[in-house]
């Protein structure tokens, strides 16, 4: 019953997302990218790519791998940035829309608990991002495999890392949505963390040296460990895409803790609130 209720809410969140057109646009862009890569691979041979470089025959295999890595990186890096930007934009209104007077009354009058509603909203949003990212990443991976015979599955790790980063930011969107019912605020806060806070806090040690103040140093440290580490997750994503798994797990763990805390708070507040 619980799982079924969560599924129902997730399903209607998915339908809401589809109605927004933004995910369909993303799907269209992904298809366009796949078609462009497909055509390039179809009409240009490996020799054309290698001929750009003056290399010995023995270095040929290494070079192909390098070309593949560059390709993977050039897909993973913009996918992380643009994909998350669009996903935040599209998902920021899920909760405020649900909480609108008239809509929330219909929803809460049904035999579904409030925590099931939040889980459904969370998983529904996650699902559509996962499907979109997976479509593009698996498509590119497949084209690279066909063209270069490189079937290294590490590129597929882009799917869970981008989805995980979205899940962390989406948990914040849900919390802000429940607290303020404002999609603009939820979106702004997510962009603030994604584009400003996280990259700036990544360089907190340099900032602390410049300012030379213990309090600021502690403050930056606290902010760093408390907020999602989207900047590190971005470099982890591109590293994993090219097969480099020698990264620090701390950004994952602290970001996951942030997500659990945000979701827990969201469920607690939503369960107590009058509508």
């Amino acid at each position: 019953m619980t799982t079924k209720n969560i599924y129902k809410i997730a399903y209607y969140t998915y339908r809401e997302a589809l109605s927004r057109k933004i995910f369909l646009t993303f799907f269209g862009i992904s298809t366009f990218v796949l078609v462009v890569f497909g055509l390039i691979f179809l009409f240009s041979g490996i020799e054309d790519l290698i001929s750009f470089t003056q290399v010995e025959a023995g270095e040929r295999i290494d070079l192909i791998e390098k070309i593949v890595d560059v390709l993977k990186f050039s897909i993973a890096a913009p996918l992380y940035g643009v994909g998350l930007f669009l996903a935040i934009f599209a998902a920021s209104s899920f909760i405020p829309n649900m909480l609108e007077k008239g809509s929330i009354d219909v929803l809460l009058s049904k035999p579904i608990s409030r925590n099931q509603v939040i889980w459904g909203k969370f998983l529904g949003g996650l699902y559509i991002v996962l499907v979109n990212i997976a479509y593009l990443v698996i498509g590119i991976w497949f084209l690279i495999g066909l063209k270069f015979g490189n079937w290294d599955p590490s590129f597929l790790m882009v799917i869970p890392t981008v989805t995980f980063t979205f899940a962390v930011l989406y948990s914040l969107i849900i919390l802000v949505g429940i607290l303020t019912q404002s999609s603009i605020l939820a979106m702004m806060l997510s962009y603030l963390i994604f584009m400003i806070f996280s990259p700036v806090l990544l360089g907190r040690e340099e900032i602390a040296i410049l300012i030379d103040n213990k309090f600021v140093e502690y403050l930056l440290d606290a902010l760093y460990y408390l907020t999602p580490k989207t900047a590190e997750l971005a470099s982890i994503t591109t590293d994993m895409a090219t097969g480099d798994f020698s990264f620090d797990y701390m950004p994952f763990i602290t970001s996951a803790a942030f997500m659990i805390l945000s979701l827990g708070l969201s469920i607690f507040i939503f369960s107590k609130k009058d509508y």
Binding site: S103, D105, K110, Y275
Partner: protein
């Protein structure tokens, strides 16, 4: 057997930092009989919608308890047997009429094999079948009300709670909605009606509760409420001004006299019987005796004014 039992519910809304407190419900208790049509009446801001929201777990009571269909209101599963039409409801705008009914069925855990057929039946009942495939964002207010009523019935509920169901509906539509509600009652379902359209409530409800500023002003049978216990209109076979001026009738208070009809104001039914005896002794031929009825609206205004004093 009661479908709804509310015991001493208090609801206080507080703004941030407790700067302002509003007592929406004050020690409120009611019982709604199973299989009846119950009307909850009150002026705007009386606390009607708050009570309905408390019953459905949309809002929480500050103190007090309530049961719906024998279950404590904290049990969200009880809502599988409840249909609800909120005031100013909104459905996902990307759905069409048929999808909205399926949406309500799905969230209510109602998934019969003939769902499509049930959807068509309900849409047909509320005269919305021809708009089944139109997106609800294009619906008018009246169409939304009809659709809202249909979605409230999809899970075959034992209790249907309707908040201003005829709001924005034309007179013909109102009559059709009334017929639907009477039909539901005949099927043994309980209807809990929240409305300020007193003339309509009067036509279909069995019992009413009148609420003012969070307090229960009156609860009872509509018939009893609107029937005056003091005034009786007696119609005679002929005009009888002179006869009633005789000594025998001096003890009775006559409020109004029009040709063959006289309006008496009496203390009780016993006095009415004495009057009838005297009229018969005087060999006056009585055609009919009718207790004077006030409209529910008159009674409502009178009760609200008294409670405001």
């Amino acid at each position: 057997m009661y479908s709804v039992e509310v015991q001493s519910i208090n609801k206080i809304y507080e703004t941030a930092f407790r700067k302002r407190r509003v007592q929406a419900l004050n020690d409120f208790s009611i019982k709604v009989e199973k299989g009846s049509i119950f009307g909850l009446l009150g002026p705007n801001g009386a606390g009607k919608t708050t009570l309905v929201k408390i019953l459905l777990g949309i809002t929480f009571p500050t103190t007090g308890t309530a049961t719906v269909l024998g279950h404590d209101i904290s049990n969200y599963k009880l809502k599988s047997k409840v249909g609800y039409l909120p005031e100013n409801h909104k459905f996902p705008p990307y759905l069409n009429g048929g999808d909205v009914i399926k949406y309500a069925a799905s969230l209510s855990g109602y998934e019969p094999p003939n769902l499509e057929q049930k959807v068509d039946e309900l849409l047909s009942l509320v005269k919305m079948l021809e708009w089944k495939n139109m997106k609800v964002k294009k619906y008018s207010k009246g169409m939304m009300q009809r659709l809202g009523l249909a979605q409230a019935m999809i899970n075959d509920p034992e209790l249907v709670i309707l908040d201003e169901p005829t709001d924005g509906v034309d007179p013909i539509g109102r009559k059709e909605i009334r017929d639907v509600l009477i039909d539901l009652k005949n099927q043994g379902k309980t209807i809990f009606l929240n409305s300020h359209l007193l003339s309509e409530v009067e036509l279909i409800t069995d019992n009413v509760a009148i609420l003012n500023k969070g307090n229960l002003v009156h609860q009872g049978n509509v018939q009893e409420l609107t029937t005056s216990k003091e005034k009786f209109k007696i119609k005679f076979a002929s005009e009888l001004k002179e006869e009633l001026k005789s000594e025998n009738f001096n003890k009775y208070q006559i409020e109004q006299m029009e040709e063959d009809t006289v309006l008496f104001k009496l203390n009780d039914v016993e006095e009415l019987n004495n009057l009838i005896d005297d009229l018969r002794k005087a060999q006056l031929f009585i055609v009919s005796i009718e207790p004077l009825k006030s409209s529910l609206e008159d009674m409502f205004i009178s009760l609200i004014k008294n409670s405001d004093k």
